[in-house]
């Protein structure tokens, strides 16, 4: 047994000056990590999975209070002094964090950062440390490792940066690697490479891995043991095949069920509460009318940015080029691609939040791109956008009521404030929030609730087309399912058309009728959702599909 966590409790002291309250983040967690095995800690945000992992090396903030026992090779780490812990950190137990961009120090070269643990823990001198660093870079699969030693983090892509982080973690040959959502910030194809790298390194170095993730699909591919957490307690613990084939806990079952899958497409997704209560699924999807009128037609849309080069020079960067599609009333167009493929720029250009460089956007028979300011204001009503980050898209100094009434006041919807407020309240009910939300501020709501509010804000204007820019990507799977269900219901009831931008093919498959696949600003494939998944024509689409984590498969 390498590490054994016994009845761990972590609480945070919160509140200010006098009024101190204890918030229990982890409430009695017990699990073991065997030598040379991978244990996955799964849960939604706020489940206490990261807090559990960070308390092993006491990387928690000062206001945390830990109880219980964490035995590492028989030593209790909760009693260990800071110098003892510092001796372990990086040498015996190493960490890889979620965001490689902020984990690497931007002012030091890769080589300098890789050499630091070698010099500090292994007392190496400069020359052998440099050689070792080069070998490490080669091991994590970075081409031209010698040249890369002298580069700075910003010169590398996100995937390469995460490889460097892993190389740093491996520098002292640790016995245990703690990986805290190491692939969440990365594209699916890069995620696939990193997962394979971690699995390979685990075999080579005979180390154990504690893998933290919110995604059961990822976990199923990499873990030996799975621990499912919710609200600070362990809901289920077991071998990976048992968890996936015969889950015992209702929450685990619900987590497995609420994720949209690529193979069978239900009319609605199962929501965790439904599943736990065993409520039946209430509605079936309306069949789509294939001959519905076209609301939005886009022809050879292009957007370029001008980058400065040298003193006077400019270089054109084509973010979006030659995009064509038609969107029918009540239909959904999915747009998929990796980060940097231009899909968000395309969405913003549709609303003229970016000025397009060329092409036509025909909305209801008129070209949106040539309208004058007044007509444009009229058209704004009819095409609306929901942004990715629900924490940033609501003005923190406006109450929800103010947020919802403002667009109506701008466009003269409703004759007076009372009428507008009434309409706002009814829309809040429509998106599943109760009336008390009206006078509150955004910070009092969770991510899913805020995204509902953002949707309600769009609905105040009676739009015909909604651009959903990664609208569910920042949400937990269960909340994602609720919001996706809401979007489907609204589409059925109001006949909305969606442009659904996402990097997640499974979600796109669930909600879309047609799919655009974008790469480097260009559309590489365009077909119906079924067709794209069943018979992708392009190599790039096939690669995207192959990279999607599929959970545990017995054959593997």
């Amino acid at each position: 047994m390498l590490l054994s966590i016994q009845d761990l409790k972590v609480a945070f002291r919160l509140g200010e000056r006098g009024a101190v309250t204890l918030t229990q983040a982890v409430n009695g967690v017990t699990f073991d990590i065997e030598e040379n095995s991978t244990v996955a800690l799964v849960g939604e945000s706020g489940s206490g999975k990261s807090v559990t992992a960070m308390s092993i090396l006491n990387l928690l903030p000062d206001n945390a209070r830990r109880e219980g026992r964490i035995l590492y090779q028989g030593r209790d780490l909760l009693q260990a002094s800071l110098p003892e812990l510092q001796g372990l950190r990086g040498k015996e137990i190493a960490c890889v964090f979620q965001d490689p961009m902020s984990s690497l120090n931007p002012v030091f070269t890769i080589g300098q950062q890789l050499m630091e643990p070698l010099v500090r823990h292994l007392r190496m001198t400069r020359r052998p440390a440099l050689e070792r660093a080069e070998a490490l870079l080669a091991e994590v699969g970075i081409p031209e490792p010698k040249r890369r030693l002298a580069t700075y983090p910003h010169e590398m892509s996100g995937g390469q940066q995460q490889r460097v982080m892993i190389a740093m973690a491996l520098a002292c040959e640790p016995r245990l690697l703690i990986a805290d959502e190491p692939t969440t910030a990365l594209d699916v194809t890069i995620q696939r490479q990193i997962l394979e790298l971690i699995a390979k390194l685990k075999e080579q170095h005979r180390m154990s891995v504690l893998f933290i993730s919110h995604d059961l699909g990822v976990v199923g591919e990499i873990a030996d043991q799975v621990v499912v957490m919710r609200n600070g307690i362990v809901r289920e613990r077991g071998a990976v095949d048992a968890i996936f084939s015969a889950p015992r806990d209702a929450y685990t079952k619900a987590l497995l069920a609420c994720r949209p899958s690529l193979t069978d497409i239900p009319a609605r997704l199962i929501v965790i509460d439904d599943h736990i209560l065993g409520a039946p699924q209430p509605r079936t999807a309306k069949p789509k009318d294939a001959d519905a009128p076209v609301v939005l037609a886009v022809r050879s849309l292009a957007k370029s940015f001008w980058l400065r080069e040298g003193l006077f020079g400019k270089r054109e960067f084509k973010a979006v080029q030659n995009v064509n599609f038609q969107l029918r009333r009540g239909h959904t167009l999915g747009v998929v691609g990796e980060s940097g493929s231009g899909k968000t720029t395309m969405g913003l250009t549709l609303l003229r939040l970016h000025e397009p460089t060329g092409g036509e956007v025909i909305f209801d028979g008129r070209n949106l791109l040539t309208l004058d300011d007044r007509e444009r204001q009229q058209m704004r009503r009819r095409i609306q956008i929901v942004f990715q980050n629900p924490y940033a898209s609501l003005n923190p100094r406006f109450t929800i009521g103010q947020t919802l009434v403002e667009p109506m006041a701008i466009h003269d919807i409703g004759s007076n404030t009372t009428e507008r407020e009434q309409r706002a309240r009814s829309l809040l009910g429509r998106v599943g929030l109760d009336d008390s939300a009206f006078g509150r501020y955004p910070h009092e709501f969770s991510g899913g609730q805020r995204q509902r509010i953002a949707i309600a804000r769009c609905l105040t204007l009676d739009p015909e087309v909604l651009v959903l820019d990664e609208a569910v990507s920042a949400l937990d799977v269960s909340v994602q399912a609720q919001v996706l269900n809401l979007l489907k219901d609204l589409q059925d009831d109001l006949g909305l058309s969606y442009v659904f931008i996402s990097h997640d093919l499974a979600v796109v498959r669930f909600i879309s009728d047609d799919v655009l696949v974008m790469k480097d600003g260009e559309v590489v494939e365009q077909a119906s959702a079924q067709q794209i998944l069943a018979a992708p024509k392009q190599e790039y689409t096939r690669r995207l599909l192959a990279a999607i984590p599929r959970g545990y498969r017995a054959a593997h």
Binding site: E16, Q377, N395, I410, S436, F438
Partner: protein, 342 residues
């Protein structure tokens, strides 16, 4: 809270006030600043210190605490004994003495009894230093606050335009900013003072026109940061105009920066007014401020009359310190990032 079902929950300002109340240093300094404001109000409505110009004590009367000054040894020569020598024969003015005495008797003179000591002492004309300091507080704080409001308004508006629109407008404003910061502050103040002449309004104008650069720079940076945020994008998508986005959406979100900057400017401008008045470019001679008091105190100090210096310095030090601490506490209370930390 759930039972009451508030239709409107605690606003950002309410929570900030709640957090501010928990800060003991902040509350004490708020009370001190409040007391000063009451004093200024009383002085402005002529309820106290309206007679600061009257000469109530003997010149350079010492503070009551020290007691009256001992009579000085004037070192006069002894009065000669014996009868006076009659000079009437040779004195050409002698015939008119009687006439003058008669005319003098017709004049009515009031011999004011001048007190030997005053609570805070007296200045070289015998004016009460206490009243003078209170009146000086009124002028100095008024000048400081008004100039700070002026400078902050200029800086905020220019910063908002530069930061929000960018491009040409921003380039022009940056050029203006560079010109203003390239000239040493004190030189700029002298230049303005030379053009405008003396007066309280002038001091406010000078300080306001020279002090906006820092606010401008910071507000501009905040607007650049916020203009790309999604909530501003969302406001654009629902059709909000640029003015509405700038002042209804972004401004409340950067208001804590501006407020703190304003309070720092108040402190700075009070000191600047003191320097200006000390150099003779500040308030006119018939008015009093901490600065003019300090200028007078310079010559008095050589003669050992320290009380005017002490009074002005004490008032200024207490107010400026309390104001700075209060601004600091406000910053902590308004910064949403500190929320929930212990």
């Amino acid at each position: 809270m759930a039972i009451a079902a508030p239709t409107r929950s605690e606003g950002v300002w309410r929570t900030a006030w709640w957090r501010f109340r928990g800060d003991r240093v902040g509350m004490v300094s708020l009370c001190i600043v409040g007391a000063f404001l009451v004093l200024i109000l009383l002085s402005a409505t002529r309820l106290v210190a309206s007679d600061w110009q009257s000469e109530v004590g003997v010149p350079n009367a010492p503070p009551t605490l020290m007691g009256p000054r001992p009579p000085e040894d004037l070192g006069t020569i002894d009065v000669p004994k014996g009868p006076n020598v009659d000079l009437s024969d040779v004195d050409p003015l002698a015939p008119r003495y009687k006439e003058w005495a008669e005319r003098a008797a017709k004049m009515k003179t009031v011999e004011v009894v001048r007190t030997q000591t005053l609570p805070f002492g007296g200045d070289r004309l015998g004016r009460d230093v206490m009243s003078k300091t209170i009146k000086g507080t009124e002028i100095s704080v008024f000048v400081g606050v008004l100039a700070a409001v002026l400078a902050t308004s200029i800086g905020t508006i220019l910063g908002a335009f530069g930061g929000f629109f960018g491009g040409r407008a921003d380039d022009f404003l940056e050029w203006l900013y560079n010109v203003f910061t390239a000239v040493p502050d004190i030189l700029l103040i002298f230049a303005f003072a030379a053009v405008f002449g003396r007066g309280i309004g002038t001091v406010v104008l000078i300080l306001g026109l020279t002090g906006w650069a820092g606010v401008y720079r910071q507000v501009r940076a905040e607007f650049i940061k916020h203009r790309g945020r999604e909530y501003v994008r969302a406001a654009e998508a629902i059709g909000a105009s640029p003015t509405s986005r700038m002042f209804r959406h972004i401004l409340p979100n950067v208001s804590h920066v501006i407020l703190v900057r304003l309070s720092l400017l108040v402190v700075g401008f009070i000191k600047a007014e003191v320097i200006l008045s000390y150099l003779g470019l500040g308030v006119p001679v018939d008015q009093v401020s901490w600065g003019t008091m300090l200028a007078e105190a310079q010559s008095e100090l050589i003669l050992g009359y320290w009380w005017q210096l002490a009074a002005a310095t004490l008032f200024m030090a207490v107010f400026v310190t309390a104001f700075s601490l209060m601004a600091d506490a406000w910053r902590d209370a308004l910064d949403p990032r500190l929320r929930g930390a212990e």
